[in-house]
């Protein structure tokens, strides 16, 4: 990994401490916990639940492995549990332990209280992920508070989308209402994305971050939202004739959720840069209005 050095640079630059591996944690964590939640509701039988829950835990585990591969001192990883008072990363780690314990117990027993507990812990884990980003004050595209509902909404979409895919593949067809739930989750994600984008547009972002998010948003609205939404509506009305529509919509909904997270975490991660609220007096000059180089506002 390159050292995060830019001597003398004033305008925001792309941070290099968190790369695709960090995005992988948010992708795996969101998809896994979302799927764990919807597996509770959508699995037709104990065996189907077991498979869906194992896939969900594999996603969460893969995400955490991505983080482990990124840290500078991987063999000190246990130290991540030291700061639950204020660190959302510690809290995420602390939730991950009972999440895996309950998830594996739920898989073992194929039902019972552990199923609900695993789903609940998954939501808490997902919330921690949103707060991890919000607490990153040095990255304007992450610290916007509306990123928390966006992370929650897209986690639910990815989970519901993958649940639609898996229930279609597993023996016994998935519940018909899953298409409606996925459509609802997509509408929530649309609202969350719109509110997030409006907020960062209003408060201002590094120009380079906005140059990533604005064109992404236009494509995401079409491919990530409209396309699966239309497909689902068609599936709800013509599902008997075209049974693959919910499957296809689920796949697109999940994949575009990953695209959204990769874009925000890995591509729009420009730092704060520097700013002067006023320009100092020099020589015979006077105080002048300040500068904030490289910002939209």
């Amino acid at each position: 990994m390159k050292t995060n050095v830019n001597p003398g640079q004033v305008t925001p630059w792309h941070q290099t401490n968190w790369d695709w591996r960090a995005a992988g944690n948010f992708i795996g964590g969101g998809t896994g916990t979302g799927l764990l939640f919807f597996a509770t509701l959508a699995a037709g039988n104990a065996d189907a639940y077991r498979i869906m829950a194992l896939v969900a835990l594999a996603f969460v585990g893969a995400g955490l492995t991505c983080v482990w591969l990124e840290i500078g001192k991987p063999f000190r990883a246990i130290n991540v549990f030291f700061h639950p008072q204020t660190s959302w990363m510690t809290r995420e780690g602390m939730v991950a332990v009972p999440l895996f314990a309950c998830g594996l117990a739920a898989v073992w027993f194929g039902g019972g209280i552990f199923v609900g507990m695993a789903a609940l812990l998954g939501i808490v884990f997902l919330y921690c992920q949103g707060r991890i980003l919000q607490a990153s004050k040095g990255i304007p595209a992450w610290r916007e508070p509306k990123i928390v509902p966006l992370i929650l909404a897209t986690g639910f979409v990815e989970g519901a989308g993958l649940a639609a895919v898996l229930t279609a593949l597993l023996p016994g067809s998935g519940p018909r209402w899953l298409a409606g739930v996925l459509l609802g989750a997509l509408i929530l994600r649309r609202i969350a994305w719109t509110l997030y984008f409006r907020a960062v547009d209003k408060s201002g972002l590094p120009k380079k971050a906005m140059a990533v998010l604005r064109p992404f948003g236009a494509k995401f609205d079409m491919l990530g939202q409209l396309l699966p939404e239309i497909t689902l509506v068609m599936g709800i009305f013509y599902g008997a004739v075209l049974p693959g529509l919910t499957f296809a919509a689920g796949l697109v909904a999940a994949a575009t959720g990953w695209w959204l997270k990769y874009t925000i975490v890995a591509r729009a991660a420009y730092n704060q840069g520097y700013a002067l609220p006023v320009l100092p007096v020099r020589g015979q000059g006077e105080v002048r209005p300040g500068v904030k180089p490289g910002w939209t506002k």
């Binding site: 968190w18 000190r76 007096v281 020099r282």
Partner: protein, 215 residues
């Protein structure tokens, strides 16, 4: 209790980077890593153009986001306000680096040298393996500050217990001292001049005060 801060008189800075060099010498930072660096900001349009030189680094915030997010408690805040890093605990996750709005933190994963692929004698002698793959940043030369009590000296007044960048500044731009002491050099400077703190709107309560005009 003391609250050590730094003042930067922007009217005086000429961008000579002596503070940067002094810091690198005092702390043996690797190539490209500048715990104290000086920005050169050009602004305005001809003929009304300004050039500002702005020393930056860790602001030793009173409410440091880097410390709050640190999952290992490696980043800590001392009673005198200085923010430090315990290299033995840090896991190098980089969360502090993305939480810092001043871009003050560095993580170096492999040894690099100033000249070619072999270390100079100085680089070999001063290499600190503890600082590999962990977060590092300006300490306000806390090792010097710590000597003050033992030697009966005053940080910011006596060079032996004052940060290297402040000692080296040729234009009297940088000053260091106790903000809680109304008679300290920094309190006097802030009482007599107008100042701002960078990115203050983010609520970090930074400990570097930029003086821009007299009152």
């Amino acid at each position: 209790m003391a609250r050590y801060v730094m003042t930067v008189d922007l009217r005086r800075c000429i961008g000579c980077q002596t503070c940067t060099a002094a810091c690198r010498h005092a702390n043996a930072t690797p190539p490209g890593v500048q715990w104290r660096k000086v920005l050169d900001i050009e602004s305005g349009e001809y003929p009304d153009v300004r050039r500002s030189f702005v020393p930056v680094g860790c602001m030793h915030c009173a409410d440091p986001p880097c410390m709050h997010v640190c999952p290992s408690t490696a980043t800590y805040q001392r009673a005198d306000g200085l923010v430090g890093i315990d290299y033995d605990i840090c896991i190098g996750c980089g969360y502090c680096a993305v939480a810092c709005p001043y871009q003050a933190r560095y993580i170096v994963h492999r040894r690099e040298y100033a000249y070619g692929d072999r270390p100079t004698a100085q680089e070999e002698a001063r290499f600190d393996p503890q600082r590999m793959s962990v977060a590092m940043k300006c300490t306000f030369c806390s090792d010097r500050v710590d000597l003050a009590k033992e030697k009966g000296l005053t940080p910011g007044v006596d060079p032996e217990v004052t940060p290297a960048c402040v000692n080296s500044c040729i234009a009297g731009v940088l000053a260091f001292g106790d903000r809680e002491d109304p008679n300290s050099n920094v309190s006097q400077l802030l009482a007599e001049n107008q100042f701002f703190r960078m990115h203050e709107e983010l609520g970090t309560d930074p400990g570097m005060y930029y003086i821009f005009d007299k009152k």
